[in-house]
């Protein structure tokens, strides 16, 4: 039932922003998720980072679960818990077994997206002692709150065993009462729509729209496998809660800004790097995938074709109505969008920003410029760390960006200008 409800995605017309049970969602792959997580760990330190992430997960998951409870007319705590477990798996986050009362309890997890994909990507070469499943931790707390109709903030959870430490075979969580009460942020579909300006079209609109439509149709049928993981386009994919990323990003920047403005700027640069990782790994991985080849055809080394392909991908993932406004091959790319999945959350939660904060757009579009101009697609290059370093951090194909307008600043649309760096 929960799985069916998750398939009922709604899109804000002309904006390519996606909602499930009145909660904004996006697709992100394990590369972005792990890099984003590490970014926050690096910025805040593990303890504060874990706290922020699990609270952001509780806040975002609470909205989703309240929406599902209403949508599915769930009556009892057991019904809510079973629906939450199903939803978690259907979204590609793995399998949870939640055993709680209104006072707390325990939970366990298998094949959790963060822990499993971390082991897959880094487990052979990196040792890690601290748990990684902050999203599951917050999700379990939110499930308990919603199942027993508790106030927001009444429950916390803590991961006490995680498979990233080699000794553990599964992840285990303690769930307990707190004396806290928090005021959760919630961005509903109508809240989001009310903050949006009018939509528009751009260059090669027909191609971009067709790609986005084809990918949306494909992703509509994608859900977690028997273990609650989604493998598609050669990566592990999650349907994720946009406000989870947003709360973490913006709170991390604000917290560091209270200490020193330069620290906040450093965190912002790390968030852009997460966006570059997403552009390279997710967009690049999709373009190289068999799924893409069957939907669109093999990618060719035509810069404009690569750029418009990536804009279609961004739309289908729920990133916003990314639109090509100007294109000079090898020199300049101008992309406009009425909003991204970051901007409405920012405006509603923090008010108008003093400077552009579309970190995913800033990072991903630089990566797209590299994919369009630095990759010989016909040679089937290996999408690995060496290529990433050569492309994104090499000196022979460097790109700069600027944002003359941004939705987070109160403008009616965001515009990014990506230009080739001339030394």
């Amino acid at each position: 039932m929960a799985t069916d409800a998750l398939r009922e995605r709604s899109w804000i017309d002309g904006h390519d922003l996606m909602f499930v049970a009145d909660t904004q969602v996006v697709y992100h792959c394990h590369h972005f998720n792990l890099f984003f997580d590490q970014t926050i760990d690096d910025a805040l330190g593990v303890e504060e980072s874990s706290r922020l992430k699990s609270r952001a997960a509780r806040e975002a998951s609470r909205q989703l679960l309240l929406g599902l409870r209403k949508r599915l007319d769930l009556q009892t705590p057991a019904e809510v818990i079973r629906a939450a477990e199903s939803a978690f798996a259907a979204m590609g986050h793995g399998r949870l077994h939640i055993n709680v009362s209104a006072e707390g309890g325990e939970a366990s997890g298998e094949y959790l997206h963060y822990g499993y994909s971390w082991k897959e990507k880094y487990g052979a070469v990196v040792r890690r002692s601290h748990p990684i499943d902050a999203f599951a931790t917050g999700f379990i707390a939110a499930t308990t709150e919603v199942a027993f109709s508790l106030d927001p903030g009444a429950i916390e959870a803590r991961e006490i065993e995680c498979i990233v430490s080699r000794a553990a075979s599964r992840c285990r969580f303690l769930v307990y009462r707190t004396g806290e009460r928090v005021q959760p942020a919630a961005l509903t579909e109508s809240d989001c729509a009310n903050l949006l300006g009018s939509s528009f079209t751009g260059l090669d609109e027909e191609r971009v729209s067709a790609i986005a439509s084809g990918l949306k149709e494909f992703t509509a049928g994608v859900a977690g496998d028997d273990r609650g993981l989604i493998q598609a386009f050669g990566v592990f994919v999650t349907m994720h809660l946009a406000s989870y990323y947003n709360r973490i990003s913006f709170d991390a920047v604000h917290e560091m800004g209270k200490i020193d403005a330069s620290l906040a700027a450093n965190v912002e640069e790390l968030l852009r790097e997460s966006g570059r990782q997403c552009g390279f790994n997710t967009f690049g991985g999709i373009l190289r995938s068999a799924e893409w080849e069957s939907l669109v055809g093999p990618p060719r080394s035509d810069p404009k074709e690569i750029v418009t392909s990536c804009l279609g991908i961004a739309r289908a993932l729920g990133f916003g109505h990314w639109t090509l406004h100007e294109f000079e091959p090898g020199e300049r790319i101008v992309v406009r969008t009425p909003a991204t999945y970051e901007t409405s959350f920012y405006r509603r939660t923090y008010g108008a920003s003093s400077h552009p904060r579309c970190y995913i757009l800033q990072g991903a579009m630089v990566a797209v410029a590299h994919l369009a101009h630095g990759v010989v697609w016909e040679e089937s290059p290996s999408f690995d760390e060496a290529l990433y370093q050569r492309l994104l951090h090499g000196t022979d194909n460097a790109w700069d960006w600027s944002m003359p307008t941004c939705h987070t600043c109160g403008d009616t649309f965001s515009e990014i200008v990506v230009t080739r760096r001339r030394s």
Partner: protein, 128 residues
């Protein structure tokens, strides 16, 4: 070799491979061989490609327009066993495409050699 296996360097370690038919006209024979070795159709809505899976959750994605065949070894296979698994699956496909090969203990000069693993080849340039 009628069927070549090559690594497809991607985001997941040793899970994805490209199978290249020496002659793309043999795609129907390959599909029959896949069926004979336990793969069955498992279409995904919205995906205009053939998707076959077996009971061990290994997966084949076949793009008919380009005859691209991607083999995805199940992520349940331990990382250091994945390449061997891909080679074993390829060997089974070849055996099923060449039934005589299975009956020839001492291989002669005309027998299909055992598959080996190569790097992913570049695509042929577009006709236009």
């Amino acid at each position: 070799m009628s069927l070549a296996l090559s690594r497809q360097q991607g985001c997941l370690r040793a899970l994805q491979y490209r199978l290249t038919l020496e002659d793309s006209a043999r795609l129907p024979a390959f599909l029959r061989a896949a069926g004979d070795t336990g793969f069955h159709a498992a279409p995904r809505p919205g995906l205009p490609a053939l998707r076959l899976v077996d009971d061990n959750e290994h997966e084949l994605i076949i793009v008919l327009a380009s005859a691209r065949i991607q083999l995805r070894v199940s992520y349940l296979v331990p990382r250091d066993e994945r390449e061997a698994c891909a080679l074993a699956l390829t060997s089974r496909f070849i055996d099923a495409m060449h039934p005589a090969r299975q009956d020839t203990p001492a291989r002669d000069a005309h027998a299909e050699p055992e598959p080996s693993l190569g790097e992913e080849p570049p695509r042929m340039p577009d006709a236009d």
